[in-house]
């Protein structure tokens, strides 16, 4: 299993029946493929829908029905459309149970950086700042390192997306909870070792009991 699939499968286990969930662009989108068939999760797309369905066949593409990445999508039965004001009212108002997003860096306080690399890339924050502040639970889904460089830091060095909002970090190597006193290692992947996880994590980790990460 590749890193992305490991992460997506593990994140999917955090979702509960009836949850309203927002999956960010990229890796988080893959989480939808791994949701337990026994539960119903309502997927929101912040550009204006709840009830995100699978990608359409080419002949069924509707240019008036896209996700927050501008890609064609479908709506499942029971879903509905709304405008951007309503969408972010739902997000900021705490009605989204879980938001899953990627990050460039996450730190020991639960702050994250995801929207800008000064002098290099300025895509913008889009809806990420609102999602991370508004959602009941914030899960960062990302590879553990960037070409071997740790992304889980003592303190973020890039401009922040939000200060102290992350609850859980899921990588291909580990599952880490953010608590008041810092980062707690909850699980490590069977194919790795504690030593390797600690070596690839810049931030200090509380390591007490941890379990094997389930894929």
């Amino acid at each position: 299993m590749d890193a992305k699939t490991i992460i997506a499968k593990r994140v999917a286990k955090e979702l509960h029946d009836g949850d309203l969930v927002n999956l960010g662009i990229g890796l988080p989108t893959l989480v939808a493929n791994h949701i337990d068939a026994d539960i119903t999760v309502h997927l929101q797309s912040e550009n204006g829908l709840i009830g995100l369905g699978p990608s359409p066949e080419l002949e069924h593409v509707d240019l008036n029905l896209t996700n927050a990445g501008g890609q064609p999508v479908t709506l499942i039965e029971g879903g509905m459309y709304f405008d951007s004001v309503t969408s972010f009212g739902i997000i900021r108002g705490g009605h989204v149970d879980v938001t899953v997003l990627g990050a460039l860096e996450v730190d020991a306080e639960g702050s994250l950086a995801s929207w800008i690399v000064p002098g290099k890339r300025v895509p913008g924050m889009g809806g990420a700042m609102d999602l991370v502040v508004g959602a009941q639970k914030v899960i960062v889904a990302m590879t553990h390192t960037n070409k071997g460089q740790p992304k889980i830091k003592t303190q973020c060095t890039l401009p922040l997306t939000a200060y102290r909002q992350v609850n859980l970090i899921v990588t291909e190597l580990a599952v880490i909870a953010v608590r008041e006193d810092g980062l707690h290692l909850l699980e490590i992947h069977p194919d790795t070792t504690l030593e390797k996880v600690l070596a690839l994590t810049e931030a200090p980790l509380h390591v007490k009991t941890y379990t094997k990460m389930e894929g």
Binding site: N47, D62, N64, T66, V85, G124, G126, G127, M129, P159
Partner: protein, 221 residues
């Protein structure tokens, strides 16, 4: 019958344009963007525009066309990631980009259209989005005081317009269109379809907010 609303031709549209004007453009990654009205802007000779839009569109679609043509001085948007020209122009200083969290942008436009002097949001605290803004505490919680946004002109893409000027929108092409229709001095609408009378329960934008309806939509879009 359409009363206050009038049918819009290109000549009338151009009469309302001026250099340096602030224009809101509906749409999200060009889904729900009125491309014909943007083309009319391109074909006019106005310049130094301030564009308020969710994003920078693509180099050849949406407000990206205006940016590529060098007609935009300032862009207020939540992201510009899918338009490399906007990024380049931002870097070389020919385009002034203000990046705003998407929910804050929507709410600023709402405040402008709803007569509010501003609002307090937790979004962006301790990030670059807070820079230059006032922080207020309410019941011990910190918030950023955000200001309302209004514009001289709003370009709106609707699905249907009825003969009174009432509007509805298609699926996720709704996005920023309804709120922008509340917050500009002049509201011009490009609608895909004309119908007789809309069900009063499902009107999204009441006719009183609409100034002009595009008279003829090309390609039946």
């Amino acid at each position: 019958m359409i009363n206050k609303q009038k049918y819009l031709d290109r000549q009338t549209f151009v009469k309302h344009l001026f250099d340096g004007m602030h224009i809101m453009v509906g749409g999200f990654m060009t889904c729900g963007t009125p491309e014909q009205l943007i083309d009319w802007l391109l074909e006019s000779n106005i310049n130094d525009l301030t564009i308020i839009c969710n994003d920078a569109g693509y180099p050849e679609a949406g407000v990206g066309k205006l940016i590529a043509a060098g007609r935009v001085r300032s862009l207020i948007a939540s992201h510009i990631g899918l338009n490399p020209i906007a990024g380049t122009k931002m870097s070389d200083g020919t385009l002034d980009v203000t990046l705003v969290p998407q929910g804050t942008l929507a709410e600023q436009i709402r405040a402008g259209g709803a007569g509010l002097g501003g609002f307090l949001t937790p979004t962006g605290l301790n990030t670059p989005a807070e820079e230059g803004k006032e922080r207020l505490e309410v019941d011990g919680q910190p918030y950023i005081l955000e200001r309302p946004l209004r514009a001289d002109l709003a370009l709106i893409k609707a699905r249907q317009v009825d003969r009174y000027g009432n509007l509805n929108y298609a699926k996720t092409a709704r996005n920023f269109n309804p709120v922008m229709a509340t917050a500009a001095k002049l509201v011009c609408v490009e609608a895909t379809e004309r119908i007789q009378v809309m069900d009063p329960e499902v009107v999204i934008t009441p006719h009183v907010l609409v100034d002009y309806i595009l008279a003829e939509v090309r390609d039946g879009r």
